[in-house]
C-alpha cells in the first residue's frame, strides 16, 4: 500500500477530480485517504474541497481532536483531527498535511467541517458489486459510522458515513475495523 505524498500539484489534481466527479455521475464515488496506514473513503458528494493545513484558533474546553477553527473564505469552520478522533497518536503537522473540507448533515442543516488526514489517495468508484457489508461494524453503536468495506485491486477501503462520524462526541472504537481490513 503506497501512501502518496500530497503537494500543491497533487491537491490541484485531486480537487479537479472531485469537481468532475460531482458534475458527472451520482454517488458511489468516494474520495479515499489514509489515516495511520488504513485507507478510508467518504462519499464524494460530501466533499467540498481539499486544503493544506493552516494553524487553527483553539476552542476552549474542546475535546483534543478538535484542533480549533479556521477562516474558510469568511466562514468559521472547525477542524477535526481524524487520528486523534480514532484515538491514535497525532502526527506533527507539516506542509504536506491535508485537510479535507466536508459538508456534514446535522438535522435539517448542513455544517462545513475540516478533517485532518495523513494523506489523500484518489477518487474511486465503489458500487454494490465491490462493497461488502460489515454488519458487525454497521450494527454496532460505536462503529455505526462505517458504511461498509469496499475492495479495490490493491486493498480494502473502509467506507465512512461522514455525517455519523462527525455528529457524535462519543468515543470511537476502531479495533473491530482494523481487524476487518488486513493490510
Amino acid at each position: 500500500m503506497t501512501e502518496k505524498k500530497t503537494d500543491a500539484a497533487e491537491l490541484a489534481r485531486i480537487n479537479g477530480e472531485i469537481e468532475e466527479a460531482i458534475t458527472h455521475e451520482p454517488s458511489e464515488q468516494y474520495l479515499t485517504f489514509y489515516v495511520d496506514k488504513e485507507e478510508y473513503g467518504v462519499d464524494i458528494l460530501s466533499v467540498q474541497e481539499i486544503r493544506g493545513w493552516e494553524p487553527a484558533t483553539a476552542i476552549p474546553n474542546a475535546p483534543d481532536y478538535v484542533k480549533g477553527v479556521i477562516n474558510l473564505r469568511g466562514t468559521v469552520v472547525p477542524i477535526i483531527d481524524l487520528r486523534r478522533r480514532f484515538g491514535i497518536k497525532q502526527f506533527d503537522y507539516s506542509s504536506v498535511t491535508v485537510v479535507i473540507v466536508v459538508k456534514v448533515k446535522a438535522g435539517n442543516r448542513e455544517k462545513v467541517m475540516g478533517i485532518v488526514v495523513d494523506a489523500v489517495s484518489e477518487v474511486s468508484n465503489f458500487d454494490h458489486s465491490n462493497i461488502q457489508a460489515a454488519p458487525e461494524l454497521t450494527d454496532n453503536k460505536n462503529t455505526a459510522f462505517v458504511k461498509g468495506l469496499g475492495s479495490t485491486e490493491e486493498s480494502m477501503v473502509i467506507l465512512l458515513d461522514i455525517n455519523k462520524l462527525l455528529s457524535t462526541d462519543e468515543d470511537l472504537d476502531l479495533s473491530g475495523i482494523r481487524q476487518a481490513t488486513p493490510a
Binding site: I59, N71, V76
Partner: protein, 716 residues
C-alpha cells in the same frame, strides 16, 4: 370558473392592519369637545373598508362585528350622535378586537372571540338608546324590499306583459333599454313593440333624451321579481308595469274558441277562477323585514377552527429605493477599484507602489462605505416601535387616574430591524415604570408645585456609532432611602453603608428589586429591571438611570447600530487573542498584590474602591497556558455581565477594533464562554467572549460580595 379568493387574503390582512393603525391613531387624536369631521371620516372609511373586504372574502365574523362599529361611526359622522370619551374608548377596544380577530384569521384559526360578543352587545345598547331608526339593519331601501320576494309566493307564469316607459333622461345615467331587453331575452322568448308617441318634431328633438317607451311580451317560466331585477337600476326613473298573461285567460280563450261543447263535463266556475289567486295583483310578496337578506348566492367560507398553519415566517423588510440606489453606486465604485488593483497586480513593479497603496486606500474606503450602506438597509426608523406608546400611555394613564402627556422626539432615528424588535419589550417596561412609579397622581403633583399633567418624553438619537434612547419623566424621581432600605433587606448592602447617588440608583437593576409599596398590575413584581438590563446587554447595549428626587428620572439606553458588528477590545492570554465587547468594559487596571485578596475555596477578589470584584483567570477556565502568572505582570479588565462585575486577568490589551460577528454555532456548536467569532485583519479567527458564560464557567456566585466603604479588608 371559480376564482380562489384566498390569493387576496394576505393583502387584505395587511391593509386591514394598516387601516386599524390609522383608526387607532385618529382616535387618539380626537378631541371629544372639538371634533374634526375629517378625522371622523378617516375612522369611518377605515372601518368601512375592513367591513367591505371581510365580507367579500368571506370573513363574516369580522364583517358582522365591524358592521356595528361602522354603524355607530356613521351616526357620529352624520351628526346624529355626539362622540364622547367613552365611545372613543369603546372604539379603541374595538380596534384591538378586530386586530385580534384578523391575527387569528391570518394564522388560520377561527376569529370567534368572546370580546367581540361583549363589545357588540355594548354597541347594540348604545345604538338602541337612540329613538331614530338609525340602525342600519332596519334600513332596507325600497329597492331591496322589492327584491326580497319569497319565491314560493309567486307562481311561475308562462307569459308576461311588460310596459316600460323610461324618463327622458334615462340614457344620461349610462343606462340603455336595449341592454335590459337583451337580458330579458335571455329569460325567454321576447316580443318588443316600441311606442313612438312621445317622439317630438325633429327640430325639437334632444338627441340625448329617450322619448320611446315599449310594450313587451315575454314567454318565460320566471317570477315577477326576476323581471323586476332586470329593471332595478332604473326603477325610479320609469313607469314599469309587469302583468302576467295568465293561464286562466288562455284557458278561457281556449275554451271559448273551442266550439265543440264538452257535454256533461261542465267545468265549474271555481276551477276557472282558481288560477287567479295565484297570480296578478294578489301575489303575496312577503317582505322579510328587519333582516339582512343577501341578494344572490354567496359562498361565505367561514374560517373553521383549523389547526395552526405552520406558517413559514420569512421575515421581510421594506427598503426605500434611495438606499438601494446608494448601494448600487457603492458597488459600482468597488468594481472600479477592483479592476484598478487587478491591473496593477498583473503588471506590477516597485515604482508603481504608490499607486498600489492609493488603490488599497480606495478599497478600504469603498468597503467601509459599502458596509455602512448595507447596514442601513436593515435599518428602520424607531417610529415603528414608538408608535405603540401613544395608545399605551393613553390607556394606562386613564386607568391609573393620572394625567400624562407623551412626547416623542427623534422618531426618524434609524436602527437595525432586529435590534428594534428586541428593544420593544424593555422599552415598554421602562415606560410603564415611569407611568406607574414615576409620574405622581395629579393631586400630589399640584401639591408639589408641578403642573397637573405629567410628561413622559421618548427621545432617540445617534451618538458616536450608537443609538441612544432616553425615557425622561418629570415625576417623583428615585427614592434613595427606599432603595437603600430594600438593598439592605436583600443583603446587597450592609446597614449604615453610604454610597454615592449613582450607585444607589444603579441598584434598581439588581434582581428581586422593587420598591413599589404595592405590586401594581404592571410593574413592581420585582422581576422587571434586571430583566430589562439583561435583555439590553444581550443586544450589546447598556442602560443607565439618572434621577433627582422630586424632579424626575431619565433612563438612557445605548445600543449598537447593528447586531452584526461589535466594537471589540482584543486581549491576549498566552498565545491566544480573544475579544471582549467594548461596551461591557468598565475599566482596565494595572493591579498590584495588595489589591487582591485570596479567598479560601473561592476565587481571588479584586478590591476596587469600595467593592470586591471576583477575578477570573482565562487560563483556568479555558485550560490554556497563561503567558503571565503574577497579577502584577498582567492587567485586570473589569467588565460587567449578568448584573455583576468581574475582573478578567489578561496578559495584555491589544487593539480596539470594530469586528464583524461570525457564528461559531453555524458549523460547530455553542461553546460556553464564547458568544461568537470574528476574522482579524491577518485572516485568523479570534473568539469573542461572553461575559455571562465566563462567569458561569468560573462558578462565581452572585451577590456574594458585599459592598464596603471602610478599609478593613473584609471579604465575602
Amino acid at each position: 370558473m371559480s376564482i380562489d379568493l384566498s390569493q387576496f387574503h394576505q393583502v387584505f390582512f395587511e391593509e386591514s392592519y394598516e387601516g386599524l393603525d390609522a383608526m387607532e391613531s385618529a382616535l387618539l387624536n380626537l378631541q371629544p369637545d372639538n371634533v374634526d369631521p375629517e378625522t371622523v371620516n378617516e375612522i369611518f372609511r377605515a372601518a368601512h373598508s375592513i367591513k367591505g373586504g371581510s365580507g367579500t372574502f368571506g370573513f363574516s365574523g369580522v364583517a358582522d362585528f365591524t358592521h356595528v362599529v361602522e354603524t355607530l361611526l356613521d351616526e357620529i359622522r352624520s351628526g346624529k350622535r355626539k362622540i364622547t370619551s367613552e365611545t372613543v374608548d369603546l372604539f379603541l377596544k374595538s380596534v384591538d378586537c378586530i386586530r385580534r380577530m384578523i391575527q387569528l384569521l391570518d394564522a388560520g384559526k377561527s376569529c370567534d372571540i368572546p370580546e367581540a360578543k361583549t363589545l357588540k352587545a355594548q354597541y347594540e345598547d348604545i345604538l338602541e338608546r337612540d329613538e331614530e331608526p338609525s340602525s342600519a339593519t332596519d334600513n332596507i331601501s325600497s329597492d331591496t324590499a322589492t327584491m326580497i320576494a319569497s319565491s314560493d309566493a309567486d307562481s311561475l307564469v308562462k307569459k308576461w306583459r311588460i310596459g316600460f316607459k323610461p324618463e327622458l333622461d334615462v340614457l344620461r345615467t349610462g343606462n340603455d333599454p336595449l341592454r335590459m331587453f337583451r337580458e330579458l331575452a335571455e329569460l325567454g322568448a321576447l316580443q318588443v313593440k316600441a311606442d313612438v308617441s312621445r317622439v317630438p318634431q325633429i327640430s325639437t328633438i334632444d338627441p340625448e333624451a329617450c322619448y320611446l317607451s315599449w310594450q313587451l311580451e315575454l314567454c318565460a317560466d320566471v317570477s315577477k321579481s326576476s323581471i323586476e331585477e332586470v329593471f332595478e337600476w332604473v326603477i325610479d326613473e320609469c313607469e314599469l308595469t309587469i302583468e302576467p298573461l295568465t293561464d286562466a285567460n288562455n284557458v278561457t280563450e281556449a275554451l271559448t274558441e273551442k266550439s265543440e261543447p264538452v257535454p256533461t263535463q261542465k267545468v265549474p266556475e271555481s276551477a276557472l277562477n282558481e288560477p287567479e289567486p295565484l297570480t296578478g295583483s294578489k301575489t303575496i310578496v312577503s317582505v322579510v323585514g328587519g333582516v339582512d337578506v343577501e341578494p344572490g348566492v354567496r359562498n361565505l367560507v367561514e374560517k373553521q377552527a383549523t389547526p395552526d398553519k405552520s406558517k413559514v415566517e420569512v421575515s421581510s423588510i421594506r427598503v426605500g429605493i434611495d438606499k438601494v440606489d446608494s448601494l448600487i453606486n457603492m458597488v459600482g465604485e468597488l468594481v472600479i477599484t477592483q479592476s484598478m488593483l487587478g491591473e496593477l497586480g498583473r503588471d506590477f513593479s516597485m515604482e508603481r507602489l504608490p499607486k498600489l497603496l492609493e488603490g488599497l486606500d480606495q478599497l478600504s474606503q469603498n468597503t467601509r462605505e459599502l458596509q455602512e450602506s448595507v447596514m442601513r438597509i436593515r435599518m428602520l426608523p424607531i417610529s415603528f416601535t414608538f408608535s405603540r406608546f401613544p395608545r399605551l400611555v393613553h390607556d394606562l394613564s386613564r386607568s391609573m387616574g393620572k394625567k400624562i402627556e407623551l412626547k416623542m422626539l427623534g422618531e426618524q432615528t434609524e436602527l437595525d430591524k432586529t435590534v428594534m424588535e428586541r428593544i420593544g419589550d424593555p422599552l415598554v417596561h421602562l415606560v410603564r415604570n415611569s407611568l406607574d412609579h414615576g409620574i405622581e397622581q395629579p393631586e400630589d403633583r399640584l401639591k408639589a408645585g408641578k403642573s397637573e399633567v405629567g410628561t413622559i418624553t421618548l427621545n432617540a438619537f445617534h451618538q458616536s456609532g450608537s443609538i441612544v434612547i432616553q425615557i425622561i419623566d418629570d415625576g417623583a424621581g428615585l427614592n434613595k432611602t427606599k432603595i437603600m432600605d430594600k438593598a439592605v433587606k436583600n443583603g446587597l448592602v450592609a446597614e449604615g453603608d453610604s454610597l454615592p447617588d449613582e450607585q444607589i440608583h444603579d441598584l434598581i437593576f439588581k434582581p428581586g428589586f422593587s420598591t413599589a409599596d404595592h405590586i401594581s398590575e404592571l410593574s413592581g413584581r420585582g422581576v422587571g429591571m434586571d430583566v430589562v438590563r439583561r435583555n439590553i446587554n444581550e443586544l450589546n447595549g447598556s442602560v443607565e438611570v439618572e434621577s433627582v428626587e422630586g424632579q424626575g428620572s431619565t433612563f438612557t439606553i445605548r445600543l449598537p447600530l447593528t447586531l452584526a458588528i461589535l466594537d471589540g477590545q482584543l486581549i491576549r492570554v498566552g498565545d491566544h487573542v480573544y475579544i471582549l465587547p467594548l461596551i461591557s468594559i468598565i475599566e482596565s487596571i494595572q493591579s498590584f498584590q495588595g489589591m487582591v485578596h485570596r479567598v479560601v475555596g473561592g476565587c481571588d477578589l479584586l478590591r476596587l474602591r469600595n467593592e470586591y470584584v471576583p477575578i477570573i483567570r482565562l487560563s483556568d477556565i479555558f485550560n490554556i497556558k497563561p503567558g503571565v502568572q503574577e497579577i502584577e505582570d498582567g492587567l485586570l479588565v473589569v467588565v460587567e455581565g449578568d448584573n455583576m462585575k468581574v475582573a478578567i486577568f489578561v496578559d495584555d490589551l491589544e487593539a480596539q477594533q470594530q469586528v464583524v460577528i461570525k457564528s461559531l454555532e453555524e458549523n460547530y456548536k455553542k461553546v460556553d464562554g464564547v458568544s461568537g467569532a470574528t476574522i482579524l485583519g491577518d485572516g485568523t479567527v479570534s473568539l469573542i467572549l461572553d461575559i455571562s458564560g465566563l462567569i458561569k464557567l468560573a462558578g462565581v456566585q452572585r451577590n456574594e460580595y458585599k459592598l464596603v466603604s471602610s478599609d478593613d479588608g473584609r471579604a465575602a
